[in-house]
Symmetry: C2
Subunit: 220 residues, 2 copies
């Protein structure tokens, strides 16, 4: 999962190449613009906080009139809600893969950590980690909380399975899961894309240290 | 460090026992009330977020008129600033103790983690972890950032010392430090005082798993 805006997320002000033969149908273009709006909103929320970011600022940044913005979104809370939903978008598939018992548990734990870290260090993930769910109404935050619980359950089940398989030393799965999420959740707070390490290197380092601590058998 | 309000932090509405002989001098009582205000503000900031908490709400909660509140504090930003300063209050001593080379490095790392976790899971610490520095002006947040960097440097130096002493496997101290802070910084987001585990138990579990992963020699 890339942390760089993809083509579909070009800011609405940037025209597509003139030479393009087929115009995308209107529905797709609407979705493109909507995604571009969400991505820029996510960046602004993570940068300035939710309260300090206005719809005017989002419209400004995207080079769109605020009245036009309302063709794509209803209000600021809805924007945040969809940014947070997007932060989980690719994790459904990850949760399914983590259940594949043909792969050793510790290898699956590494895979989960890598996938989560990439999701968290995308524009939408940073928005979730930095802003959190507080600005949403209880109802709107329920979906997100449900998915967060699902991620936690996925990790706890994997740890329980690892202990039963003799891969992981006996421990309290809930606490090991909390430790793992803490390590990873904090990364967007300090990680710099132009820094010394890639996300893969950070997670690889974390997981090697962690796994050497929790593995029932010596690693490597 | 207790996470329960101590006597000095009784809400201003709660009268001290009538039988008390000596009245505290006015300066002390002023400081008592100020601390009570800060503690209640920290609780409200952590609970509702900074923007959603008003000075009216703080005055209300403490049972004080808003005009009276201004005898103790200047504005909301100042309240947050002092809450965050308080979150570090007892860590100066910890930083000094961590430098004591007569104690093995891994033992000092455990001690640091325990102390940090207690500070973070106090009213003021939760306020720092949940609200962060964003609402402060750059200038006001400098002191706090300086102390955070000092904590990070303390841990990195300790890890470097541990590697040199043959206690810790060779690793990148900056990444191990980021991993440790992440694990611990996240605790206030999920920890419940009335839950199954004490802060000491949580940190003990975390550190046992971590130390088994990073120790150069088998532990226990």
């Amino acid at each position: 999962m890339s942390t760089r805006p993809d083509d579909a997320a070009l800011p609405a002000t940037i025209e597509r190449p003139a030479g393009r033969r087929r115009k995308a149908p209107p529905v797709v273009r609407h979705e493109d613009k909507r995604l571009a709006i969400l991505r820029i909103a996510a960046q602004l929320f993570a940068q300035n906080g939710y309260e300090a970011t206005s719809l005017d600022m989002i419209a400004d940044q995207i080079g769109m009139h605020k009245a036009t913005l309302y063709h794509y979104i209803k209000n600021k809370e809805e924007v945040l809600y969809f940014c947070l939903v997007k932060s989980f978008e690719n994790l459904d598939e990850v949760v399914e893969k983590v259940k594949d018992r043909s792969v050793p548990t510790l290898q699956r734990l590494r895979y989960f950590a890598q996938s989560l870290a990439h999701a968290q260090n995308s524009d939408f993930g940073r928005c979730l980690v930095v802003v959190g769910l507080r600005p949403l109404t209880t109802e709107a935050s329920l979906d997100i909380r449900r998915f967060q619980r699902r991620l936690d359950t996925t990790v706890r089940d994997l740890i329980t399975e690892g202990i039963a398989a003799g891969d992981i030393k006996p421990c309290v799965p809930a606490l090991l899961s909390a430790m793992l999420f803490g390590m990873l959740n904090w990364v967007p707070q300090w990680y710099q894309e132009d820094g010394k390490y890639s996300i893969d290197e950070v997670v690889e380092t974390f997981m090697t240290m962690l796994i050497q601590g929790i593995a029932a058998r010596p690693q490597r």
